[in-house]
């Protein structure tokens, strides 16, 4: 079946890496402007909906969920997993190049490990093929 990914499928994987990390960062930035929300100030959550950073963050996280769901429709969970972890690398690199944060040796090592993990998985097939799953797919398919 599928060993090579189509360009549109690579685009989905890249969207997973970017939307989660950039979306989280935008939410964090927006919520820092809104202020701390606790049980006694739940009204602030309503207020947060009018913050442009929070709105952009929510849109990107919806995009993440859509891309993640799409990827799982043609790839294994253990194939997509390193792509979601790559979001941590994107956040660390954004901190380094946009906010000029210093990255410790530990964090560089973490980046290295996740990049290797993506490499390991990308070299193999995206979907497990064996009879049981093929039967499951065929039996439960939409058509």
């Amino acid at each position: 079946m599928k060993h090579a990914l189509k360009p549109s499928q690579y685009a989905i994987l890249i969207a997973i890496m970017l939307t989660a990390s950039v979306g989280d960062s935008l939410l964090a930035r927006g919520m820092a402007q809104v202020g701390a929300v606790d049980v006694h100030h739940l009204g602030l959550l309503w207020h947060a909906l009018f913050n442009p950073y929070v709105d952009a963050g929510i849109v990107l996280l919806i995009g993440f969920f859509a891309s993640y769901t799409t990827a799982l429709s043609w790839a294994d969970l253990t194939f997509v997993m390193p792509a979601t972890a790559f979001g941590y690398v994107v956040i660390a690199l954004m901190g380094k190049f946009w906010l000029h944060e210093q990255l410790s040796l530990y964090r560089w090592a973490g980046i290295g490990l996740i990049v290797c993990a993506v490499g390991f998985v990308a070299g193999g097939p995206s979907r497990t093929e064996h009879e049981a799953l093929d039967r499951m797919d065929a039996g439960a398919g939409p058509l």
């Binding site: 969970l77 090592a109 973490g110 497990t128 049981a132």
Partner: protein, 129 residues
């Protein structure tokens, strides 16, 4: 019986990670059942594809697990340090996902994928230091 504080913290961490694993595996199982979304979209349009996803029982239960996971995470972070809870939950979720994908989704988790899982779990811990 009263639990030691560290047991409270670790039970919360394990609970949040278990919810995330359950959610992700159910969503993955639901999507596998549906088949390639690109094909569904080509045939029934974007609305049809969204409808197919939202009416898949496993997907919906999985998404509910993720929603509960979100609030459980807020609770866990209120009793544990962020610097412990965030990397611990992320790492355990990745390792739990690989084990659950092998057990329940029958994915072929070969040496490459185990190695990737361990690297990701370690990498996440190092990155949040």
């Amino acid at each position: 019986m009263t639990l030691a504080p560290w047991m409270h913290v670790w039970s919360a961490i394990l609970f949040v990670a278990a919810l995330a694993v359950a959610g992700e595996v159910l969503i993955a199982a639901g999507m596998r059942q549906l088949g390639d979304l690109d094909d569904i979209r080509a045939e029934r349009g974007l609305g049809g594809a969204i409808l197919a996803v939202l009416t898949n029982t496993m997907f919906v239960i999985g998404a509910l697990c993720m929603a509960v996971n979100f609030f459980a995470m807020l609770f866990a972070l209120s009793i544990a340090d962020l610097s412990l809870a965030a990397p611990a939950i992320a790492s355990l979720t990745y390792i739990g996902n690989a084990i659950a994908a092998k057990m329940f989704l029958h994915e072929r988790v070969d040496r490459r994928r185990w190695l990737a899982t361990v690297f990701v779990a370690l990498g996440v811990v190092l990155l949040t230091r």
